[in-house]
């Protein structure tokens, strides 16, 4: 009895194997016919055309970095980097939702970009010499000036990082964070001990449990992880920054047109803040007399044609549908969000920061 049913089952399995193989071939054919969903690789020169053909921008984001790219309760991606992706989509399609997100780990982000799986990488990536020059990538600018800092318990009685002597420091393994911290302590001849963990959650839990005196990572990360401590008010972030971490969007090298588009989307967001154009008031500036604003909203000049975009009001659309830099910042990481980061270096150059965009003319 058993044996008979088993034979029938096994026969079924073999039939399945044959059918499955045929099915897989069929599927691959249909996948080819349908055009599939992921971007093809190899051909570097016409990203814009490929993006227009498939109808959306494939944007590489993080797998969950608070305030920069994380899914919200409704299942939408949100954050500073995500808003940038939405701005790129708006410039091309006049629709901020024409984005597909690829949540990438730090290890594979560059391979993913180079292989053509994604069109633009907006994943809090630090612009460094090596990445810009040796990896075949192109950084188009900086959308957040970050830097590594220290967080300590207030009752440690430390007010400056130079007072951190004989301390244990919690951090992530194998990141530049660990190396930066080591450099800092050695340069200042301070005694320290590194306690490293694999995941951010573990580092926070260890610091919260008192296994170390100091927690070090990028200051935006400190602000985010601080919300996960059992009593955030007992901790403070020290004022010193020990490393430069300019975070910016990245594209593949070798497609100048696409790099220009992404670069000018970033610049447009910043220029909009300079011109005090917001999503709320830009409609009333459509017929402005100010030549700077006229160029920005597309009433003057042929900037879209130069970039290969269809709509001369591309910058207008970005501000109307996504917002200017200040609006994006306040929505995602600003003082009113859980991260509560003040503008600091990320304020406009006219307001004490270093955010600066070349003129649009």
């Amino acid at each position: 009895m058993n044996q008979e049913s088993l034979i029938r089952k096994l026969r079924g399995l073999f039939v399945f194997f044959a059918v499955g193989l045929g099915g897989a071939l069929l599927l691959s054919q249909t996948a080819l016919a349908l055009g599939g969903s992921s971007g093809g690789g190899g051909d570097y020169g016409n990203t814009l055309k490929e993006v227009k053909d498939k109808g959306y921008v494939q944007c590489g984001v993080s797998q969950g970095l608070p305030g920069f790219s994380n899914p919200d309760d409704a299942g939408n991606w949100s954050g500073l980097d995500v808003e940038f992706c939405r701005a790129v989509a708006t410039a091309i399609f006049n629709d901020p939702d024409k984005v597909q997100y690829s949540p990438l780990s730090a290890k594979v982000r560059f391979e993913s970009l180079r292989s053509g799986e994604i069109d633009v990488l907006a994943r809090n990536t630090t612009w460094t010499f090596d990445r810009d020059v040796a990896l075949g990538l192109e950084f188009v600018g900086v959308n957040y000036y970050d830097g590594q800092g220290f967080m300590v318990r207030k009752n440690l009685g430390v007010n400056s990082s130079s007072e951190l002597n004989n301390v244990s420091v919690c951090t992530n393994t194998g990141t530049t964070t660990e190396l930066n911290a080591a450099d800092f302590f050695r340069a200042n001849k301070l005694k320290y001990k590194i306690v490293a963990f694999e995941k951010a959650d573990e580092v926070v839990a260890a610091y919260d449990a008192g296994r170390c005196d100091v927690y070090t990572t990028d200051r935006s990360g400190l602000a985010a992880q601080r919300t996960k401590l059992s009593n955030p008010r007992e901790h403070k972030v020290l004022p010193e920054i020990i490393s430069k971490e300019p975070l910016g969007p990245v594209v593949r090298q070798g497609d100048e047109q696409w790099a220009d588009i992404v670069r000018w989307v970033l610049n447009a967001i910043i220029i909009a803040e300079e011109l005090e154009l917001t999503s709320a008031n830009i409609a009333s500036h459509k017929d402005s007399d100010n030549p700077k604003i006229r160029r920005f909203v597309g009433s003057e000049g042929e900037f879209a044609t130069a970039l290969g975009l269809d709509d001369n009001a591309w910058a207008y659309n970005i501000v109307a549908k996504v917002g200017n830099y200040s609006e994006i910042y306040e929505r995602t990481v600003g003082p009113k969000t859980p991260l509560g980061l003040s503008r600091g270096d990320n304020a406009l150059w006219t307001k004490g920061g270093i955010l600066y965009a070349p003129p649009m003319r």
């Binding site: 099915g23 093809g40 797998q63 309760d73 290890k107 292989s115 919300t227």
Partner: protein, 358 residues
Amino acid sequence: MTARAALLWLRDNLFFSWKNGVLSVVVGGFLLWVVVLLADWFFVSAVWNGGIEDCRLRQDGACWPFVQARFRQFIYGFYPDVERWRVNIVMLVFFVGIALLVWERTPFRGKLVLFMLCVFPLASWFLMRGGIFGLADVPTGRWGGFMLTLVLASVGIVSSLPLGIMLALGRRAESLPFVKAFCVVFIEFWRGVPVITVLFATAFMLPLFMPSSVNFDQLLRAMVGFILFSSAYMAEIVRGGLEGLQRGQYEASDALGMTYWQSRIRVILPQALKIMIPGILLTIIGLFKDTTLVLIIGLLDFLGMIQAGISDPRWGAPNVPFTGYAFAAVVYFVFCYSMSLYARYIEKKFSAGRERRP
């Protein structure tokens, strides 16, 4: 009477000497302590209703509102809200189908097996992927959560078994040297490469070799990677089962004048399968948990969605990460343990009446 029996059992098993008694008390106390701690964290001190503010106020227990708010995301990933009925249909058919297959008195069980193995996977692919028959197109990049875990694991499990059997038979086919060589090389290659490397290669290296007009869905590529990888493991388990049989079984079936396939299907495999069950189960459970490695190639499975959810700064509280991971652990445990129970049942059923007598 029963109380007396219980006392006797206690004396015979837990307290038959003073050393044994001390050990029983210590271990029993420790277990009790762990259970009480866990129950307290999971239920008593846990926050059941409200939002993040409540979780911040009561940090000694789980923060279940987080799981409540994110539950649908954990199941469906980024699958669009209005299209979720498609996933629901597929999951319903999947679980009902499995239940019917497990229940032994289901009529037409053989046909159901064929349906679940051949028709169902293709049908559910087209239903969930869309783009035809007027269904909205849902690119696999938006698939995620538990649904993605199920898709990857079931495809991997179902395809790797027949492939593994073929490879194992091929590896033992002495009269067909080329087939044998191919199978050996295939098995050793895939067993010698870490699964992360396989996924990485299929995701990022394959596109570099293909012309840009050829687009092969990323999830399909990951699936193929998983199938090839797990079939190599399955092949070695099947080979172990085949080797475990006495030569006499092979010789006897040959002596009866059976052809190769008759002998394999009617005599060898049914007996070998019984020996293989623990090994097969090991691979299946391993595969079920390995699916989480698709994180590498930018797909968020069940665990990936939970980790991404934890990163939301609006859910910043010390108990949120623990809650997320605890939820993942419970779900994984329930699924793996039920697979384990079923495998144990099958094993018992196959051995009934066939136990070798001493």
